[in-house]
Every structure is written in structure tokens, then in C-alpha cells.
């Protein structure tokens, strides 16, 4: 039904919403019904192409859709009602926006003639969401619905991706008002034409600079993951023997176990990655945005480096760090062209200089090397993550919440594939992990899907254990329980003389009983020797079930390395007693 015909099918606005989603190839919609979207829910009920997933709180719907997008590159779809339904979705929309994740959010709205009258469950969702969306629109005429939905997907998924909100007043969906349905094949906008290919002259310039480098570092971010360019990045890095560091959002773009991978960089980056960045003479930045959690003090950032910056968003280039050779375009075709140009030149980097550089990097590697206390009688969070990485062979989807556990997961899980590390990097949304894991598990039922969380984060969306039961989502919850808001506590230890203002999670629930109350399995792990059998049970024996592993870890552990505020990228605390 994509071609215009004289006898177009007559559909109501509500039916058009659902048909357009089906024509867009949408399998799941995540949402929660309410007054303003009841016509749409009735249309959903009367067909079986688009399936609806009922969450327990709208925030979870947005994170499910968001995680689906992170795992597949395609926009996730959310359907919520007006007023509180829409405002509950706001945190999830902002989360997607900060990490450039494609998402289409359909929000109900009160009837057109009531807008502006403070009607029941009315809220100005266009106004509220404006600063946290790539774009938003409202339906003025029911017959525009197919076009607006196509436009929403086009904007969400093209260029630098992001969430798009479509606000739908209830009277646009009245079942008895029918209009000819036609879903457009493509959309062209005179005001929005994202650049695709990079400028060839700039690419040539970048290749020449890269081949002349003596101390190069390849620094890649989330753009490589969402831009589907991990293969090209890996090939280029291996062809030229470049050291590769990934941002928090970019993990998995390059195999985590490969010797050319020097770890994550930035605030909790590896010693060798941050040192290499600081001493580099050339930085090839790909789909990364020189965020403050990477650069530390921008004035002291990478003083000797020529910076090549590839990004789809011109506004990301020279925003915080001046790029010497900017290339605007999709990272995948740009990297492809770079690789072709490099191969054509039949030239590589000066091998003796590169060898010296690698020697230096390997010396740095030996300094810290991700060490932690392995003799402790208490369970160490780093050890737990390493064991999860082992039992899942570095191939699980790891969906993280926000805090210390997130950093431990980023540092100690060896991501060998892209799109498997799913976390809220930009906004830092606690409560993201469980719904994210659910969104992935629903779409990849055979895969191992892990939610790495803490006793603080998990309680922000714990009601979703009920949704997991309803849809049989066998995610594995690794609750790194230290009885504290760990990252808050770490900062209070370091900057506030250990005054734990509201960072102690008093009166925690019995997570085992809680998991059981929702119909799942809970396993408590309090001693190091209990870990292996528990993981074995969760990941092998109870493969298809949701298992809540409540793992009691050393409450005093800190995340290291940690950049020293105001310092250069390579100024770090290495442990509670050592610094650079």
C-alpha cells in the first residue's frame, strides 16, 4: 500500500497510526494506554502485525524502545497517553537525545478544541520536549498522519539520529472519521538534507596526516556504533597497526580482547589510553564528540596532537576541541573512503616510530593494567564483571544502569562486538538498565542479556519485573549490592571527608523475596566462592528464566583510574593512595 491509487483504502486516524507503523516495518510498540490514546489502542487491538508491550511505567517504555534502537540501529517506537503519560516519558526521551538514539514517540493529546484550556490530562508536550528532541510535531489533520509518521522515522533515523515526538490530539483519531490512506515511500524536506559522504579533499588531507604520524591514536565513539562502521574502523586500525581507544559510548566498535585495544579513555579510562591520548601527535576522532568526561580540562587536552575529526554533525566539530582536519559525513562511507585511499597509496606509517610508540604504550599498560585487590575476602565488583564476561564469552548484551557498576562493567567486560554495550552515557539515567535489558531480550530472545545494576539504580524501575513476567523476558540481573549509592559515596570519600549525605541505602528490600514475589528466581551471593555456582545456575541451568543475582560486594571499593578534576587527560588517581 505504498503507491498512490484512486481507490486508496479508507482508514480512521487511529487505524492509520497503526497501519503506518506496520508499513514502516515496526514489530513492537512499547507503551501504556490512557484516555487520549484509547482510539489508537482499539486500532492496535484489531490487527496483529504490530505488537504492543505493556510496561508498568512509561519511562520503561522509552528505555525499551531506546535499547532496541541501540542494539539494531533502527528507531524504537513508544506510545503513551497525554499529560502524565507523556511527562513520564520525558526522562527516556532525554536519555535517547543525549546519546543520539533514534526513537519515535507518539504521545496522546487532549482534543484540539481543548488545547490551551488546562483540560484533564493536558500538558504542552511539544513545549516540554522541545529541548530534548531532534524534532517534534503535532497532528493538525487526520489525513496527514501517514506523512507525519514517515517524516518522524526519516528524521529520527537519518543524519545524527535522535528522538522525534509526534503529538496526536484525540479528535485526530476518531474511529468513524475515515480518510484515504497512503504511506509515502520517501520524504524530501527542503530544510533538512543531512550530508552523507565526506569531502574527498578533506579525506585525502586526513590520510596524508595519518600516514605521517609517529604517535597516532584512533579514538572512536558512539557514532561508530550507531553508524554501523565497526568493521571499517577495525580494518583501518589493523591495516595500519593503530592503537584504538573507545569512549564509553563506543565500546565494542573494536574487539575488546585484541592487543591493539588500549581500553576506554576519559574520566575512568585506562591509564594507557589516557597517556596515549596526551602524548599523541595525531588523533583520529571518529564519531566521538570530545565530551567533558573524555577531555578533562580542555585547555590541557592533547597539547601536541593534530586532530582529525569525522562526525555527521557539523556542530560537534570544533565545539569543545578545535579540529585541524574536520570531515563532516556518515562515519561508515568516510572510513571506507579513507581505507581505500590508504590502500591506494601503498604506504604505511613509519614502522620504527610506530614500534617505539607501541613500546611506550605497552610500558604504560604495565603501570596499572586494570589491577584490583584479588586477595580480599570480600567479593570485588571487578571480579564479578570479569566472571560474567567469561561465562558469556564477551558476547552478551550488557545493559547497564548508572554508577560505579556501570564503570566496572565498561572497564572489565570484554566487548568483542558492537551494539552489545547498552548504557545511558550522556544523561546518566539511573533506572535505565532493567527496561533496556527487557527491550533487547524481547528482540533477541536467544541471546544472553545481562542487566548490570546496583541496589540504588534497580529500585528506580523495579516495577518492570512484572512486565518481565508477562512477556517471559529471561534477563539476568547482576545486582552489585554494596548498600551505598556507590559513585556518590566515592565522591564523598574523595571530596567531602566521607560524610555520606544520603548515600546510604537504608532499609533495602530482600531482593530474593522480591524477585520471587514477581514470579522470578532470586539468588543471593555473599562470599567469593558462591559466585561461580550462582552464575552457572543463572546462565546455564536457568537459561530461559529471569534470575536476580543479588551480589554483596565490598562496600568500600572505588572506581580507578579516575581523572583528577581540572587536570590534563592523563592526570589520574590510580588507587586510594596513588596518583600520577
Amino acid at each position: 500500500m505504498t503507491s498512490q491509487s484512486k481507490h486508496a483504502e479508507m482508514l480512521s486516524g487511529a487505524a492509520m497510526v497503526i497501519r503506518a507503523l506496520a508499513d514502516e516495518g515496526v514489530e513492537y510498540v512499547y507503551g501504556y494506554p490512557g484516555g487520549a490514546v484509547l482510539h489508537i489502542y482499539d486500532a492496535l487491538f484489531q490487527q496483529n502485525k504490530v505488537k504492543h508491550v505493556l510496561v508498568r511505567h512509561e519511562q520503561a517504555a522509552t528505555h525499551m524502545a531506546d535499547a532496541y534502537a541501540r542494539a539494531t540501529g533502527k528507531a524504537g517506537v513508544v506510545l503513551v497517553t497525554s499529560g502524565p503519560g507523556a511527562t513520564n516519558a520525558v526522562t527516556g526521551i532525554a536519555t535517547a537525545y543525549m546519546d543520539s538514539i533514534p526513537m519515535v514517540v507518539l504521545t496522546g493529546q487532549v482534543m484540539s478544541h481543548l488545547i490551551g484550556e488546562d483540560a484533564f490530562q493536558e500538558t504542552d508536550m511539544l513545549g516540554i520536549s522541545r529541548p530534548i528532541v531532534k524534532h517534534n510535531m503535532s497532528v493538525r489533520r487526520p489525513e496527514d498522519i501517514p506523512y507525519l509518521i514517515k517524516k518522524a522515522f526519516y528524521i529520527a533515523q537519518s543524519g545524527r539520529p535522535g528522538p522525534v515526538v509526534l503529538d496526536i490530539p484525540k479528535d485526530m483519531t476518531i474511529p468513524s472519521n475515515k480518510f484515504p490512506y497512503h504511506y509515502p515511500d520517501e520524504i524530501k524536506l527542503r530544510s533538512y538534507q543531512p550530508k552523507l559522504k565526506g569531502h574527498s579533499g578533506q579525506i585525502k588531507k586526513a590520510v596524508s596526516a595519518l600516514l605521517a604520524a609517529k604517535k597516532p591514536v584512533l579514538y572512536s565513539g558512539g557514532g561508530v556504533i550507531m553508524g554501523g562502521a565497526a568493521a571499517e574502523l577495525t580494518e583501518l586500525a589493523q591495516y595500519l597497526n593503530l592503537p584504538v581507544t573507545n569512549t564509553l559510548m563506543g565500546l565494542g566498535a573494536y574487539p575488546g580482547e585484541d592487543k591493539q585495544f588500549i581500553g576506554m579513555l576519559g574520566m575512568h579510562g585506562s591509564y594507557e589510553a589516557n597517556q596515549a591520548m596526551h602524548h599523541a601527535d595525531l588523533i583520529l576522532a571518529v564519531g566521538a564528540r570530545f565530551d567533558d568526561r573524555v577531555t578533562n580540562n580542555t585547555k590541557k587536552f592533547c597539547p601536541n596532537a593534530t586532530i582529525i575529526h569525522i562526525d555527521i554533525d557539523p556542530a560537534s566539530i570544533s565545539k569543545t576541541i578545535n579540529a585541524h582536519i574536520p570531515i563532516v559525513g556518515l562515519v561508515q562511507p568516510v572510513l571506507e573512503e579513507m581505507l581505500a585511499t590508504v590502500k591506494q597509496k601503498k604506504k604505511k606509517l613509519d614502522s620504527s616510530a610506530l614500534e617505539q610508540w607501541w613500546q611506550q604504550i605497552n610500558d604504560w599498560r604495565a603501570v596499572h593494567g586494570g589491577r584490583y585487590d584479588t586477595t580480599s575476602a570480600l567479593l570485588k565488583p571487578q571480579h564479578v564483571i570479569e566472571q560474567v564476561s567469561k561465562i558469556t564469552k564477551g558476547e552478551a548484551f550488557v545493559c547497564s544502569d548508572v554508577g560505579q557498576h556501570q564503570m566496572f562493567a565498561a572497564q572489565y567486560y570484554k566487548f568483542n562486538k558492537p551494539n552489545r554495550w547498552i548504557n545511558s552515557g550522556g544523561l546518566g539515567t539511573m533506572g535505565f538498565g532493567l527496561p533496556a535489558a527487557m527491550g533487547v531480550k524481547l528482540n533477541f530472545p536467544q541471546a544472553d542479556v545481562v542487566c548490570v545494576t546496583g541496589e540504588g539504580s534497580i529500585q528506580m524501575n523495579i516495577q518492570e519485573l512484572s512486565t518481565c513476567k508477562q512477556y517471559g523476558l529471561g534477563v539476568k540481573i547482576i545486582n552489585l549490592n554494596n548498600g551505598y549509592l556507590g559513585m556518590v559515596k566515592q565522591w564523598q570519600d574523595m571530596n567531602y571527608e566521607s560524610r555520606y549525605a544520603s548515600s546510604y541505602m537504608d532499609s533495602l528490600p530482600d531482593f530474593i523475596k522480591l524477585a520471587e514475589a514477581y514470579g522470578h528466581v532470586g539468588i543471593r551471593v555473599t562470599k567469593p566462592e558462591e559466585l561461580q555456582p550462582a552464575l552457572q545456575r543463572a546462565f546455564v541451568e536457568l537459561k530461559d528464566q529471569l534470575v536476580f543475582l543479588d551480589i554483596h560486594i565490598d562496600p568500600k571499593e572505588h572506581v580507578y583510574p579516575m581523572q583528577i578534576p581540572g587536570g590534563a587527560v592523563n592526570e589520574m588517581f590510580l588507587s586510594k593512595t596513588e596518583r600520577t
Binding site: L126, R130, P131, K134, H135, L189, R190, S191, S318
Partner: protein
Amino acid sequence: MRHIISVLLENESGALARLVGLFAQRGYNIDSLTVAPTEDPTLSRLTLVTHGNDQVIEQITKQLHKLIEVVKLTDLSEAAHIERELMLVKVKAVGEQRDEVKRSADIFRGQIVDVSATTYTVQLVGTSDKLDAFIQALSGTQILEVVRSGVSGISRGEKTLAL
């Protein structure tokens, strides 16, 4: 430095709010803003005066470009251009002041567009500097009200900002 940014914007509801919101959200300045539809009713033309260093202005133009409804934009102050602002000033005009205000208005090529027993309303068109100078020139007079339109601008010569 002061910059005059001229924008062609889709004439759609919410477009202006989005543009103004961007400035508030990212902490950019708006010194003045004028907007109205063009000869093509689907397009609005907007002139915005802002200030900032080169890096800030570069970010402003890039961020504006990212807005879906922004069709085209240019920084008029980068090349030869014409800028005009309209001002209406209501002043107390009694006794000797009546002649004094009239003389000043003539010197600045302003027009008195409304008269009452005790007031004159002067209309003046020109660059922002000229309008500032006129207000200075009225320093001996009691100003009752000042209304300024904000700057509108256009490039000199054959250069245009059009579809």
C-alpha cells in the same frame, strides 16, 4: 563581536519557539529579533542580532542549521550589508521643547507621526547606532516611551538569501 544572522525559516507553528528556545537552552544572547513571512507565505524571514566570540558565533550558526525548520541562513555581518531598524519615540513637547524636538528630528531625518498638546511621537529609521545617537540627542527632553523594531538586514549587491 556583534553579528547579524539572517534566517529563512519554514512558516510553521512552533518553528520560532524552537529557534528562540535554542538560544535560551545553550546560553546564547539575543540582542534583537525580527520576524515576518516573506513573499512566499510558506517561509518566514528572521533577522537576529547576537554577540559572542568567533567560536560562539560558529556554534550558533551550526546549531541553527540543525533545526529541522531552518531552510537557510547567513551571517550578514561577514560581508557588505544594509541594516535598518525602526524606532518610535514619544517625548514630552511643551513650550520651547516643541521646537527643539522638531529640530532634532529633522537633523536625524525623522518624522513626527503623531502630535498632542503636550507630546510628539517621532518615527526614525536607520542603523541601530543612529537610533542610539538620536536618543542621546534628546537628552534634554523627557522621553515618555521608546519602541524599537529590532534590526532587519539584507546583503548588498547580487547576493541573496532565497530558495
